[in-house]
């Protein structure tokens, strides 16, 4: 029998991507966060062209120039200059590069081993699981920032070490999440079916089970991206992160502390950049969670 009647499009199940986007776009906060992130990523990628000045160029005649809308503001320095006469806007734009780089690199560096360890712990709950989970418990015994501080105290401050410290710190949450999701999936019929069909272990792990565990992992990756930016800034602020004169937001705040009575802009603006970026990512994370994983809705 051939069907000649045209299919009613509205009865078709929407593609997963479209369905996801509809759920995500429903959340205005998440859309706002996404818009801000796109702007930030654009600034970060094209920093040398977007920034009006070189971030380390010192304009000695314009020390602590206020932003343009205040008395004494200069049009060439839209957001003013810092204590060495460097253009604040340019430093903030270049700082976005560093923050996003640290966030992205540390998420990737912890997501991949985290998933692997979580899969192993989930697939071998008697043999390897307890050992891996104990190790993660030990790492969780220290608050994340303190553990990062300890790691940096060993390795020494700097960009690469900051990334490593934050990646190590966020590892346990990925391992625990992956393991929990894997253990939930392993009892399902489709896994048994794949086993009976002769799928080998790597195939079972990566092709059969892992894709079904991705939703909470994506949400977690977003959240740990924002906490990576916060922790990197905190390390920079404590003098243990990226070192001056590199325009990292936390490092900029640390050197601005001495001018708290005279120049509010050098103190306020780097922090505002951190807050807005973290807020934007968290808003996106909330939207992603609601769109990907309705079970987690309202959960902390």
């Amino acid at each position: 029998m051939t069907t000649s009647t045209p299919l009613d499009q509205s009865l078709l199940y929407p593609s997963p991507l479209k369905e996801f986007w509809q759920a995500f776009a429903h959340n205005t906060g998440a859309l706002g966060g996404l818009a801000f992130m796109i702007l930030l990523v654009f600034c970060a990628l094209f920093a040398p062209w977007v920034a009006p000045h070189d971030p380390s160029e010192q304009y000695r005649d314009f020390l602590l120039t206020p932003p343009v809308w205040l008395d004494g503001g200069q049009w060439q320095f839209l957001l003013g200059t810092d204590e060495l006469g460097r253009d604040l806007l340019s430093r903030l734009i270049h700082g976005a590069r560093l923050s996003l780089l640290i966030g992205l690199a540390s998420v990737v560096l912890s997501l991949i081993p985290g998933i692997l360890l979580g899969l192993v712990a989930g697939f071998f709950p008697r043999l390897l699981g307890p050992g891996i989970m104990r190790l993660m418990d030990i790492m969780l015994a220290l608050p994340s920032l303190l553990l990062a501080v300890a790691i940096v105290a060993i390795l020494g401050p700097g960009l690469i070490n900051t990334i490593f410290a934050i990646a190590i710190v966020s590892l346990p949450s990925y391992v625990r999440l992956t393991r929990a999701a894997v253990m939930g999936e392993l009892n399902r019929d489709y896994v048994t079916a794949a086993q009976l069909a002769g799928a080998n272990l790597p195939r079972l792990m990566f092709v059969t089970v892992l894709p079904n565990c991705m939703a909470p992992l994506i949400v977690q990756a977003t959240l740990s991206f924002s906490s990576a930016i916060l922790d990197a800034a905190a390390l920079g602020f404590l003098g243990l992160g990226v070192q001056p004169p590199t325009p990292e937001w936390g490092t900029m705040l640390a050197s601005a502390r001495d001018y708290i009575e005279r120049a509010w802009w050098v103190v306020s603006l780097p922090g505002l950049a951190i807050l807005l970026s973290v807020l934007a990512i968290n808003l996106m994370g909330d939207g992603l969670r609601d769109a990907l994983d309705p079970k987690l809705k309202n959960a902390q």
Partner: protein, 336 residues
């Protein structure tokens, strides 16, 4: 219940040894020569170098060093600070009350305000008030608290002159440390106005440290309340004609509090990490500032065992929360 506690204790011991392994490794993973790093100079005289290696026990095989370390810990010897020559344990004990005082004040601030905000948002669900409260909560949750502290200092201390910029109490007052808690010690002393002064020093750091817990508690209270308000027993309570206040607070909030209390426990780690930043900003003489200064000065005994002490504290608090949760919820207790 006893078997539940025993099982949790059994989990505690390997975690504790793991943490000692971490702090043991800490001092030995420093790149370069540990003696040179600790003395802060290059090319130390070979004889002194050998002596220092001997004194620190670094010339023995690794496993021997670890057993020595555990033996020292077991006999209560946490080493002494390279800077002050004071024992690490004594330094910790004198500074710890300051951190506890700050953390308790922060938790009080966060708990009261967070519960109120969460309940109000849940009751007014979907209204602009709910959206406003939740937006503020998310902003608080995203706050870089070291910046938040600087902003508050800039506004209230420098701009308005309402609160002092740093420290626990004005240098004018000479308060003998009795309990280590400044608020109590000032009350015990006869210095007039000292208590108020101590309180003024405490307000801003407590607000800064309490901001993230406040946001977490507000979000958690709201979602727990929303869950509870849907329950049948709430409808029954309403149907029997109880006053709305009684329904919300006695029937609703009491049941919503269980998940919120666990969040309280989980915030201890956040508070200790936040204390590092808050104490650095406000020059608050607690263990967070102590640890950061020790790292800056390469005072490795303090760094090593300070981290160990903080980790043990977090482990113990989590253990207590686990036990309390087991008491409140039999389902957890009987989980294998």
């Amino acid at each position: 219940m006893l078997s539940f506690i025993a099982r949790r204790l059994g989990l505690l011991i390997p975690t504790f040894f793991g943490v000692t392994l971490l702090t043991f490794a800490l001092i030995r993973l420093i790149p370069g020569d540990p003696v040179e790093v600790m003395m802060g100079e290059r090319r130390v005289d070979p004889e002194m170098h050998a002596q220092a290696m001997e004194r620190l026990g670094l010339n023995k095989p690794l496993y021997q060093q670890y057993f020595d370390y555990i033996g020292q810990l077991a006999s209560g010897n946490l080493g002494e600070s390279l800077r002050s020559r004071e024992s690490v344990w004594n330094e910790f004990l004198t500074l710890f009350p300051a951190t506890v005082e700050l953390a308790l004040a922060a938790l009080l601030f966060a708990g009261t305000l967070g519960l109120i905000a969460g309940v109000v948002a849940a009751l007014k669900r979907g209204t602009p008030l709910d959206h406003g409260v939740m937006s503020i909560a998310l902003t608080g949750y995203s706050m870089p608290i070291f910046w938040w502290g600087l902003l508050l200092i800039m506004f209230f201390s420098v701009g308005l002159g309402w609160t002092p910029v740093s420290g626990r109490i004005d240098l004018l007052y000479d308060i003998p440390p009795v309990t280590g808690f400044m608020l109590i010690d000032t009350l015990l002393s006869d210095e007039p106005g000292a208590f108020v002064d101590a309180l003024r020093h405490l307000i801003l750091p407590a607000i800064v440290l309490g901001t993230i817990p406040l946001a977490v508690i507000a979000r958690m209270t709201r979602s727990a309340m929303l869950e509870v308000l849907r329950e049948d027993y709430i409808r029954t309570a309403r149907a029997k004609g109880l006053s709305p206040t009684r329904v919300v607070f006695v029937h609703g909030l009491r049941n919503a509090l269980i998940p919120v209390l666990t969040v309280f426990g989980l915030q201890v780690g956040t508070l200790l990490a936040g204390a590092v930043l808050t104490e650095t900003i406000f020059s608050w003489p607690g263990i967070g500032k102590w640890l950061i200064e020790a790292i800056g000065a390469r005072d490795y005994p303090v760094v090593q065992n300070g981290i160990l002490l903080i980790a043990c504290l977090v482990i113990l608090v989590n253990f207590t929360v686990d036990i309390l949760y087991g008491l409140a919820n039999p389902r957890i207790r009987h989980q294998k």
